[in-house]
């Protein structure tokens, strides 16, 4: 089927493709032997009372690519400083007013109902230090996963982050699931791999994530 003047370059490309394919497959098999990366279970990270739970507020304006129209739709809501009680609310109880209203999108599934709320972390801890919002650190926003976007999956989850004295993320656990294991893992992986705090004492933060489609 190949014409004479075209066969040579194409055979070369095919040979390269095949070689690349074989190499990728080989690395894949080796990678598979190493076993999947696990999101640590909650229990491994419930430290003693010495590690206080702190709330995390991302730097004032996370780099959300927001159209001006969005902000303008709910100016009142955005301007209102939203209060959250100290005890951790189930994710579903997070005030929705911090976000622009969800648009009705026919193809989009409703956010999965959060699973039964996990009892508050260290609820019995005598003192909980307050976290002052700080710009010290790197908190890039995770991308919306392609598979979730394509299937119209949305969700909210709460991630518990242990931060080492160096400021590096020591461990990440999902406190409250979005109901979508893949979305939970995506957020947890992202925090573990991309976030870092300024050096200081070991700390813990609860970070709520909201994945929403518009």
């Amino acid at each position: 089927m190949s014409t004479d003047h075209s066969s040579t370059p194409h055979e070369r490309v095919y040979a390269w493709s095949a070689a690349l394919g074989t190499a990728t497959l080989a690395v894949c098999v080796l990678g598979a032997l190493a076993g999947p990366v696990q999101v640590p279970a909650d229990d491994h990270h419930d430290h003693g009372p010495g590690a206080p739970v702190q709330y995390f507020t991302p730097p004032a304006q996370p780099p959300v690519k927001t159209k001006p129209t969005i902000a303008a739709t709910v100016p009142t809501a955005v301007a209102v400083p939203v209060a959250v009680p100290l005890a951790i609310e189930p994710v579903s109880a997070l005030p929705v007013t911090t976000m622009p209203a969800l648009l009705p999108v026919a193809a989009v599934r409703a956010p999965a109902a959060p699973r039964a709320a996990v009892p508050p972390v260290n609820a019995a801890a005598p003192a909980i230090e307050r976290f002052a919002p700080s710009l010290a650190g790197e908190f890039p926003e995770p991308p919306y996963p392609r598979w979730a976007r394509q299937q119209g999956i949305q969700g909210r989850l709460l991630v518990l982050v242990d931060v080492a004295a160096s400021g590096a993320v020591q461990s990440v656990a999902v406190r409250e699931s979005s109901g979508q294991a893949g979305l939970d893992q995506h957020a947890a992986d992202w925090v573990r791999l991309h976030w870092s705090w300024a050096p200081g004492a070991p700390r813990r933060y609860l970070v709520p994530f909201v994945f929403e489609l518009q």
């Binding site: 303008a72 599934r109 976007r149 518009q214």
Partner: protein
């Protein structure tokens, strides 16, 4: 502003609710927004996306039909098995179809009876690009660019998924089965999919149409290494398809094999957000069988590669720049050898940017410079008056687009765009000389053709938020030079009237009129509108009323004669909702009659198509869900003829049909 009130109330309520808390603590969630309906927020964002959920709801046979419900889009409908989208009256090479960002490398733009080398069963997402963002893919963007995403190369860690689906239909006796498996092992994400599909002769209101059955099989496998700094992946896919094209005894056997390589590096340098690269290598072949004997064979072997650099935001400027390069060899052998063997080279540099001008206005702009070269080998075939020598033609098309977006208030936005587009003539327009069964003509190219050049202007008004949303746009596309296949009035050798020439025998029938590829001045103008009224919107119950419509007129500016095969327009309404677990939709669309005709073209009457669709999700186990769907098409069995089809006189649209599908996810 009625819908501000609930937001305000909510805000007030939460303030009251938390007022009792003695020590309130700020806690803002990290909000990640994903766009399903596209938008103009990123320099490379599509104007429109159909995601997997939307595609499943309307699983159809060809890429043309997948998009045909969108205002402004029609399908070329060469029978139930070949259909390419036509946007705003622009088709063929004027409407680029990309597969994961690189060319499809099939033969679908050469003839309307050639299917696009991607079966809808393998498609996970369809993106339509317009304006500056479309310049990332093509220099001919007045209709837009269609990008089909098959997910075969994973770009991120994937949750474990195993999906089985089956579908059966009545109008074409459809039987299809498909599977999809995805997951992760260590840092590796993999994807595996496959499908098989058969259809019998199509049932229409005028009876069953012979030679429209089809049989297709396809599969794809991809694996990626995914890490914090990006991904690198490879995929292999194949499609085998045999389908009838309504011509007695003629069947096309299509085979495509494709390798894809893709990767992305996140933040490789301070000035770059990401660098991504893609390479597609394809081997395409289709043979047109007359009974058991192979008639003509079309081959397309080539590759297409691109590198996209996403720039870090500088001030209020965001942008993507890149390069694209592709080569393909296209050859036809056999009876229908109306083209010489050609080598086609295309290299391009492009960019698309967004500059924020104020909080309520922004400017999008883009450019694309190409270098295109077509080299034809010397050739001869039976019936050729003279044997053309080897020749080549080179072009440097340059296109740019500018769009100014102004938010009128929180809900209304208006966009004014201006586009300059140039397209290099393709191998067919330059070098064709021979009988072409698909278009029932003796096609003759013009080796002296220049670039196709046009200007486009569009004004859009959109309401993006609120219970009532929608958009209206009007456009005017003016081509100084539009390459069109025009009836010459003579037979192939120009020696007389359209009566048989010397050797134009084609299965005994030797009466083919000659058509020349000619550059003409052309005007396209039209409008599109869409209105969605959300009557009810809660998590458990939704109800919406939708109105939509489009219209387009295309004419030769010199002669005021209409251009051929233009879908004149339509308007329709749909009611859709979600109640007690069932999603449903009922729609009715009136398609206008086409009476603005090219010479020799037959008019088409107006017609109304009514359809309905239902689906429901079931939970079968802790990790098993099922979705049942039912679609009813052309409920009143109306005889409808698509004005954009080459074979509208012979073949109406499908008659009344029922299609049921079941999808199991584990």
């Amino acid at each position: 502003m009625p819908s501000l009130r609930p937001a305000f109330l909510l805000a007030a309520t939460s303030l009251v609710a938390f007022a009792q808390d003695p020590a309130p603590q700020k806690m803002n969630p990290v909000v990640i927004k994903g766009a399903t309906i596209g938008g103009v927020t990123a320099p490379a964002a599509p104007a429109l996306q159909l995601n997997a959920a939307a595609l499943e709801a309307q699983r159809v046979a060809t890429l043309g039909e997948v998009l045909a419900d969108i205002p402004g889009v029609a399908t070329s409908y060469f029978g139930p098995n070949a259909g390419r989208p036509i946007i705003r009256g622009l088709d063929g090479d004027r409407l680029k179809i990309a597969q994961n960002g690189t060319g499809t490398l099939d033969a679908s733009s050469a003839s309307p009876d050639h299917a696009v080398g991607i079966d809808p069963l393998a498609i996970r997402e369809v993106q339509v690009f317009r304006g500056p963002a479309a310049l990332l893919y093509s220099s001919s963007i007045l209709g837009g660019v269609v990008n089909v995403v098959d997910n075969r190369i994973p770009v991120e860690r994937l949750p474990r998924a195993f999906v089985l689906s089956g579908r059966a239909g009545s109008a074409d006796a459809l039987r299809s089965a498909a599977f999809l498996a995805e997951g992760c092992a260590g840092d590796f994400a993999f994807h595996l999919d496959g499908f098989t599909k058969t259809t019998e002769n199509l049932s229409t209101p005028i009876g069953r149409i012979a030679d429209t059955a089809s049989e297709s099989r396809g599969a794809g496998f991809g694996v990626s290494r995914v890490g914090p700094s990006g991904y690198l992946g490879l995929s292999f896919s194949g499609l085998n398809s045999t389908y009838g094209v309504t011509e007695p005894g003629i069947e096309i056997g299509l085979r495509q094999r494709r390798w894809d390589l893709a990767g992305q590096a996140n933040a490789p340098a301070a000035a770059l957000k990401s660098v991504s690269y893609k390479l597609g290598v394809s081997d395409y072949e289709h043979t047109e069988f007359d009974g058991a004997a192979a008639g003509s064979t079309f081959t397309n072997q080539g590759w297409d590669a691109r590198v996209d650099f996403e720039l870090t935001k500088i001030g209020s400027l965001e942008g993507v720049v890149g390069i694209q390069s592709g080569r393909f060899d296209f050859a036809v052998t056999g009876d229908e050898a109306f083209l010489p063997t050609t080598r086609n080279a295309n290299d391009a540099v492009f960019g698309s940017f967004i500059q924020s001008l104020a909080t309520d206005s922004r400017l999008r702009f883009g450019f694309r410079l190409e270098s295109a070269k077509v080299s034809a080998a010397a050739w001869t075939h039976e019936g050729l008056a003279s044997n053309p020598a080897a020749a080549s033609a080179a072009f440097t098309p340059a296109s740019f687009a500018l769009a100014w977006i102004k938010d009128l208030d929180a809900r209304w936005a208006t966009t004014l765009s201006l586009t300059r587009t140039e397209r290099a003539p393709n191998f067919q327009e330059l070098f064709a000389d021979g009988p072409h069964v698909g278009t029932e003509s003796y096609e003759v190219g013009d080796r002296t053709l220049g670039k196709e050049q046009g200007w486009g202007m569009e004004l859009e008004l959109a309401k993006t938020r609120g219970a009532v949303s929608g958009s209206v746009s009007v456009y005017y596309n003016r081509f100084a030079s539009f390459i069109s296949l025009q009836e010459n009035g003579f037979g192939p050798d120009l020696s007389g009237l359209p009566i048989p020439g010397p050797n134009f025998a084609l299965g005994g029938a030797d009466e083919l009129a000659r058509y020349d590829f000619t550059s003409i001045p052309a005007d396209f103008f039209g409008a599109e509108a869409r209105l969605n009224i959300q009557l009810q919107d809660t998590a458990a119950a939704k109800l919406a009323l939708e109105f939509f419509g489009d219209t387009v007129r295309a004419s030769n500016r010199d002669t005021s004669e209409a251009l051929p095969r233009i879908s004149p327009g339509r308007f329709g309404t749909a009611l859709h909702g979600l109640q007690s677990g069932w999603s449903w939709r009922i729609d009715a669309t009136y398609h206008l009659a086409q009476n603005h005709l090219a010479v020799g073209e037959t008019p088409t009457a107006g017609y109304t198509l009514v359809g309905a669709a239902f689906s429901r999700d079931f939970v079968l186990g802790s990790a098993t869900t099922a979705r049942f769907s039912l679609r009813l098409t052309n409920l009143f069995d109306v005889e409808a003829r698509n004005a954009a089809s080459f074979i509208k006189d012979a073949l109406p649209l499908p008659g009344r049909g029922v299609e049921a599908g079941l999808k199991l996810s584990f």
